[in-house]
């Protein structure tokens, strides 16, 4: 609270006029980040681009590729670890998960030049959903590694990782059924 107030150039009392509690502040930050990311991705979604490139651009909005996105990732991680002990952030947490999953669906569909999936749809166990789940895990891992070991990754490295993963996921033949 005091750090935020100082960074905003106001007193802690002044900050409290806008946010009645610390959870409200963190929730607002998280929602602001979510809106910002969603807006940028929506822009890419309707852009006239080759499918794989559009997918790459959308996913890159989730990764710490510059200062802006780095702080967004930091906010996301902060909410993630906070939601482990603060139940009031669990909804936000679940929403973020569902949103990220859908972005992965959009990316996969874009790579295959399929129409963009809708929100309410049922996706269980189709090939697209399998790939989206895999991509989701990969993006989360890449986000975690690049955020916690920023010195090990240049933005070029990150972009190349996304590109390779998308290509592999597009060309791969995933087993349609799981043999035990």
């Amino acid at each position: 609270m005091r750090k935020v107030a100082e960074a905003a150039g106001v007193s802690v009392g002044g900050l409290r006029h806008y946010f009645d509690s610390q959870r409200g502040l963190l929730a607002f930050a998280a929602q602001a980040v979510g809106r910002s990311v969603a807006a940028r991705i929506a822009g890419h979604l309707h852009a006239d681009l080759p499918g794989p490139e559009r997918a790459r651009l959308m996913l890159e909005e989730l990764l710490p590729l510059d200062g802006n996105r780095r702080v967004e990732v930091d906010v996301w991680l902060a909410c993630l670890v906070r939601s482990r002990i603060d139940e009031s952030l669990a909804d936000l947490h679940r929403n973020a998960w569902a949103a990220e999953r859908h972005i992965c669906r959009l990316a996969i569909a874009s790579c295959h030049d399929l129409p963009a999936p809708e929100i309410g749809q049922e996706f269980t166990d189709t090939g697209l959903e399998r790939r989206a789940a895999r991509l989701h895990v990969f993006i989360d891992g890449l986000t975690l590694q690049t955020a916690t070991y920023p010195r090990n990754f240049t933005p070029e490295d990150i972009r190349a990782a996304v590109r390779d993963e998308l290509r592999l996921l597009t060309e791969a033949r995933l087993p349609t059924e799981r043999e035990t």
Copy 2:
């Protein structure tokens, strides 16, 4: 400190007799987890098993598949977020990263029935290292997701994800050079 002391059935002063500071306690916990995981993986490494299955068993030691491994993952995540603000944990952090990367190398090599890579070796940009890096990212993402959304994943789901990833990574033809 007080929580740990209570859980251990001693007073906070008694706990302090063994750990002179909180960082020491966390570092000890992290090192204990590391030793435990390393011992289990070493056991799998010298077991007489088919390559892919050995790889799977080794990687599964890093994932929250039961109560034991769940707390290990929690300790790992706690140190991860802590090292972002506590420089005294950075070394431990880097060691954990290198160790995890090497486990991924061992898993990839095991899948291809190659001899186990040594520690000091140079791995830059060979096909094995590319695959190990990808696997590393995937395992971190899977760890993060399964730890923060435990309700979404049964142990079977996690095992299947590892199996699919290993198969994909083994069969895939990775581009040997990066086209810009």
